[in-house]
Amino acid sequence: MTTKSKLYKTLLYDKQFSRREVIKLSGAGAAIYGLNSLLSSCNTSQIPQTTIGLLLPFSGIYASLGESIYNGMRIYFDEIQNKVAGNNLFIIAEDTEMKPDVAQQKARKLIEQDNVDLVTGIVSTGVLYGLRDYFHNNKKFLICSNAGGNKISREMKSPYIWRSSFSNWQPNWPLGIWAYENVATKVFVSAPDYGAGHNMVDAFSNSFQSAGGKIINKQFTPFPSMGDPAPYITEIQQSRPQMVYCFYSGSSAVSFINAYHDFGLSNDIPIVCSGFTVEEDVLPAQGSAALGIKSGLHWALSLDNPANINFVKKYKNLYDHNANVFAVQGYDTAKIIAEMINEVQGDSDNTNGMINYLKQVNFESPRGSFGLDANSQNPTQNIYVREVKEINGNLQNVVIENLGSFTDPGNNSLG
C-alpha cells in the first residue's frame, strides 16, 4: 500500500519525469497493487484517495493523440497539486491500442481490479461504442476526452457517459454555412470511409446545402490508411470544383494535404476543412503545403484568452512542442473530473451528485467559454474558423472568425 502511494506521489509531483517513464512506473505500481489486492484482497480505502483510470492509445496510429491528452491532463492535475476533495489523486493509464476488445479488457481491469473512481480517455469512436454498454450496464462513469461519434450524444446516450471534447457534428455544421457565405457555393467533399468521416461530411453538407450550396461529388477513401492519395487528388483535379471540403487526421491528413499541394491544386482550389486536418499535431509535417487552408474547430493555438495563453505557455515549456486541441481536451477533462469529485466530496458512488454537477458545468476554458449541455451530454462551446498563416517563420492556425457557441442537437435532425 505505502509503496504504491509513495510511487505515485513522487511521480506526479516530479516534473522531470517524461510521460513514458510516468506510465511505465505508474503501470508497475498498478501491477504491484493488483497483485497485492489479488493475494490479500485488502481493503483499499484506508487512506483517502481518488484513482482515475485512463484509457488511451499509446501504440499504433493514434499514439500521438493519446500522448497529447495525457500531457494536457497532467498540466491540470499539477495545477491542483494532485489533490481532490482532500484526497491524493492517482492515475492509472492503460493502452487501448485502438482495439475495442483490448479496451474492454482494460476497462474491466481498471474498474473491477484497480477500483478506480471513474474512467476517462478514449480516442477512437469504435472503442467508445464498444465500451458503451459496459459502462451503461454497470453504472460506471466515463468522461470521454476525444472520440466524437455523434451517436453517443444521441441514440446511444447513457447517463453515465459524458463527453468533454466534441461531437463530430459540432465543428462542421457551423462551418458549412460559413463556407457557403464566405468561400464558394460548389464543393467537392473528401473524407475517410468510416464513422467519423461520414459524421463530419454529413454535418457539413447538410448545412452547406441548407444554405443553398451544391455538392459536386462525395469521395470516401479507405480507412485507416488511404495509401497513395494521388488517385483521389487526380479525381478532384478533374472535376475542377470551386472549393474542397475534407476531413482527415494523422498520417492521412499529412499525405492528403501534401499531395494536394504537390499536384499544384492549393493555389487554384481553396480547402475548407475540419480543424483536425491541419491541427498542431500534423501541421509541422505538412509545412507550407498547409498555408491558406481554412478550417473549423473548437479551439486554436492562437486563441487570445488568459486561460489559453497560460495553458499554451505551460505546455510548450513542459513538453517542448506546441499544444494541440487534444491536449486542451485533456486539460478540460481533468478540470471537470477534479471539480466533479470535489463536488461529491470524493464519494464516487454518489451518481446523482455527479450527474447534477455535470449538468451545470460552466467555466472559462482555453477554448473560451465552455459548458456541458444537459441534453446531449456534450460540450457547449465556440466554433472558430481558423486559417493557416505564417507568423514569424512559424505556421499557425490563426482565428479569423468566431462563429459563436454551439451544442450538439442531440438528435439526427441536422445531420
Binding site: S64, P222, G227, P231, S251, V254, D262, F263
Partner: protein, 272 residues
C-alpha cells in the same frame, strides 16, 4: 508505379520476407534523421539504405538463414511479424508518435504539365528510379554469373553447394540488398506517405499481396505483381473509390483460384 511498389520489386529468394515493411519504415525514419543532421536529401537517401541494408545482413546472418526452405513459410511469416512488432517500438522510442514528413527537395517540388493536367515532378522521378532499379536488378539476376548461381541456388541449394559454390554469403548479401532497396523506397517514398507508428503493418499486408500475386521466388513475378497491384489500386481508387481495398484482395483470390501458385510462381515450389 507507386513508391511502395518499389520496395516489393525484390521478390526475395523463396523467402516470405514480411520484414520488408519494417525495412521500409526504418529506411524512412533513418533518412529523416540524416536529413535533419546533414540537410542533404541526396545524402539521406544514400546513407539510409546502407544502414538498413547492414541491419538486414546482420538479421539474415544471425537468424534468417535458419528459416530457409519452402516447408517453413509459416515460420517465416511469424518471424517477420515479430520483427514488425519490435520495429514498431523502436520507431516510437526514437522518433516519437507524431507524424513525420520528409520535405520534397525544392528542385523537385514543382508540378509539370502532362496532357493538360499538372503532375508533380517528384512522382515522375520516383517512377524513373523504380524503373532503373528494376532494370538493373533484372540485369543482375538474369545476365550475370552471380545471378545464375542465385537462381540455381533458389531452385536447389544442395545441388549448387555440391558443385563447390558457397551460396550462403551470396544469399546474405542479396538479402542485405533487398533490405537496402526497401529502405531506399521508404526514404524516397516518405515525402509522399509520411511516417507514423503502425505504417509497417500496412506495408506488410501489401507486400504479402504483391509477392503472392506474382508468385514466390521469381523476380518477374514480384515486378509484375507490384505493377498489377499498383494499377488495380490506382484505377480502383479512381473508378470505384469505395471498394478499392476490396478490389486488391478480390484480385488476389481470383488469381489464386486460377493459378494456385501465383502468376509466375514456380510450380516446383508448389508441388513439393
Amino acid at each position: 508505379m507507386m513508391a511502395s511498389g518499389l520496395s516489393l520489386i525484390f521478390g526475395q529468394l523463396n523467402f516470405i520476407n514480411l520484414s520488408h515493411g519494417s525495412f521500409y519504415v526504418l529506411g524512412g525514419y533513418v533518412a529523416y534523421s540524416i536529413l535533419s543532421y546533414s540537410k542533404s536529401f541526396l545524402l539521406s537517401i544514400i546513407i539510409a539504405p546502407l544502414i538498413v541494408g547492414l541491419f538486414g545482413v546482420i538479421l539474415e546472418y544471425v537468424f534468417l538463414r535458419r528459416l530457409y526452405g519452402h516447408k517453413r513459410h509459416l515460420d517465416q511469416v511469424l518471424f517477420s511479424m515479430g520483427i514488425a512488432l519490435i520495429t514498431a517500438d523502436i520507431v516510437t522510442m526514437n522518433w516519437g508518435t507524431y507524424v513525420i514528413n520528409i520535405r520534397t527537395p525544392s528542385i523537385l517540388s514543382t508540378a509539370i504539365l502532362i496532357l493538360d493536367t499538372e503532375f508533380p515532378l517528384y512522382r515522375i522521378v520516383i517512377i524513373l528510379v523504380g524503373l532503373c532499379t528494376a532494370i538493373s536488378l533484372w540485369t543482375l539476376i538474369y545476365k550475370t554469373h552471380l545471378g545464375t548461381i542465385l537462381r540455381a541456388g533458389v531452385f536447389d541449394i544442395k545441388m549448387v553447394s555440391e558443385s563447390g559454390i558457397n551460396v550462403q554469403p551470396i544469399f546474405t548479401s542479396i538479402f542485405g540488398l533487398g533490405a537496402a532497396l526497401a529502405a531506399l523506397a521508404g526514404a524516397i517514398g516518405a515525402p509522399l506517405h509520411s511516417l507514423y507508428p503502425g505504417l509497417q503493418f500496412e506495408i506488410l499486408i501489401l507486400t504479402l499481396a504483391v509477392v503472392i500475386i506474382g508468385g514466390i521466388g521469381t523476380l518477374k513475378g514480384a515486378f509484375m505483381g507490384s505493377l498489377l497491384i499498383g494499377t488495380v489500386d490506382t484505377f480502383g481508387k479512381a473508378l470505384f473509390p469505395e471498394i478499392s481495398l476490396f478490389l486488391i484482395f478480390a484480385l488476389m483470390v481470383i488469381i489464386l483460384i486460377m493459378k494456385p501458385s501465383g502468376l509466375f510462381g514456380n510450380t516446383y515450389h508448389y508441388e513439393s
